[in-house]
Amino acid sequence: MLAPGAEIPHFCAQCHDHPCLESCPTQAISVSNDTGAILVDKERCTACGNCIDACPGRIPHIHPTENYSLICDLCRGDPQCVKVCKEGGWNALWIAPAPESYSYRLYAKKPEELTKELLINLFGEKGLELI
């Protein structure tokens, strides 16, 4: 939490050009044929952290106890986060088709940027002071 009250879910934007894939020195990252999600091979991953730096949204993170990188694999096409959000009645998350569009990769953003934009959106220039 970077600013009180500005809580933002932070998800993989499913970039079509996959910067994480290219950054991996051990070819542990692959793209699923079925869902288009990013899959990490636990055995090959050395937890070097290159994918974290390459990701425009800083989405991947290292597993807290084991030595490999975690990236959203869309739960094999049935994302559980969407399910709980719907069950909770918030409907903030939904499954959207992914058309071929450069615009979607723009939504891969670091949490700091997201918070800043939300605060400006809510409070105008005063929002900058809150960070």
Partner: protein, 620 residues
Amino acid sequence: MRGYAGKFLEIDLSTQSSRETHFPDDILRTYLGGRGLGVKILWDRLGRRWSSIDPLGPDNLLLFLTGPLTGYFPGGRTCITGKSPQSNGAVGSTVAGEFGIELKCAGYDGIIFSGVSDRPVYVLVFDDQVIFKDAQHIWGMCGQETLRAITSESRKIVQGLKPSLGELIEPSTLYIGPAGERKIRIAAVMAKWSHAAGYGGYGAVMGSKNLKAVVAKGTGPLPDTANMPSALTLIERICKACYKNDKFRRWGTGYLGYEVGAQTSSEPVRNWQEEWHDERSFGVDRFEQRVWIKRYWGDFGCPTTCLKLASPKAGQYKGAITDNPDYEIQAYQGTNLGIFTPEGNVYLSSLVDDLGICGIQGGNVMGFAAELFQRGILTSEDIGFDLRWGDVDAFAALSKKIAYREGIGDILAEGTYRAAEKISEMKGVDVLKYAVQSKGIGIGAHGIRSKLDYPIDISYACSTQGGDHTSVALLPVDAGNSELTLALHDSGVYCWFNMFETPDPLLWELLQAVTGWDITREEWYNSSSRKIITIQRVLLLLGGPDVAWSPDVHDENPPRFYEPLPTGPKSGMKVDRDAFLKTKKEYYETLGWDEKGIPKPETLAKLGLGELAQAIKSLK
């Protein structure tokens, strides 16, 4: 005659009188309305002395027309036409909003203005009453102010005339800003705050007639259709198809400001010196999160709601408010001027809208001026300040200069082509090669060099509406984006965007259900649309009195398109001139025109346009 109100209003501004007029069924069946009918009326009334008519003089006509599908097909528009002060041909320029629907509800299919008023007026059409109102106190006002004043005044008048109405939705207004009043050739006819009929420059024609605004309010229902149950089902199916257009619904065309640059390399950057950029600062996510204040907003009956409201919430441009710039305005009031921030773009966009300048033509001519400054041809003494790429305040100052015809603005107000000729004369350097325009009309923000966008190499050179990106020449001629198809949308007068996901047969079925005429696709592409395009082509070539287009010289891409792209994944690509000439010949042949693009006598005979023969003789 179903789908039509059945009568047109003819207003003579010189005598402030009005009368009704009618057109026979066969003409309406062929030309439908809007652009098609407008072109036909212009040819019938002005065709024989076309080249001697000054577009900004008292003889020109100004037509506000609806079509049979206005109000039925989701997304109503109004078509504005006349002799264009930009191309000196006839351009069918459409603007979104409820004006067309209000007019049809008032019982008219269109208004034909002639003559010139001796003092500023505005005209209110309320059902069958036509009221001329003095506009002295509104003259000189900017857009938002004008709209506020006219809306409250005309609301009072309408309520006075029919008190039983009670509270009512405001009348629909088409108006001009200070730019139109000063007859600048890149002035637009505006609706609401920021809808504009820009191509053609009809704001200047309105200004030349001292007509500040036209207001319409109708209390009647829309005209009867031939088969209402079928029409209703079809409208529902079209709406459902439109809902599929995710990107447009979520972002409007605003997502293209980044995508057309990064993905297809066809966005004007710094007066088309480049067509590629990968500026994430100009991404639609920034617009969405930083400047949008309203998400889904559409005009009457529109399922796509591509309109968003935008207003910078922080920084020096805080408070500027406009519709979220659509792609064209993002490109022309943004990247084309080297501006890559949403706030700067929204500010400039709101400013040109308020002044009544066409965003596309204004951005085109300002980009042109900035390139001349970059090359040292125009200096800061000429302009009054430095005009560097990306300097929002400088471009804001320049757009004010243009709208009020001050200093260099007086020259730039004439549009890119005429300004280039004047500056060439003034400076003794040929600057026409930096003007990215076709036949006096600045080219829409879809480049042809990367070959990834929808226009092709002949699109602008052979279009009857010059650089208009909503009327591009394409092969095959019945393609979804080609000029013949767009003539249908502009003649039926509804929104092209709602056709993107709509299957083609639905449109023809709706046209038949509304009008009761069995108009088919074949009939349109083989006869009606060719008639419209052929008349437009002849009127364009007749031109005059200040410019005349020669097919050999002017059926040509701007020189910039023959230069290779300097940056991006498609760098090095350019238009191949030999291939261009070949496609051009093929296109003219398909339409039954000779190698110069002049319609052949046998084509005219086949289309039943024998009366054009005389005009064609004078072209040869």
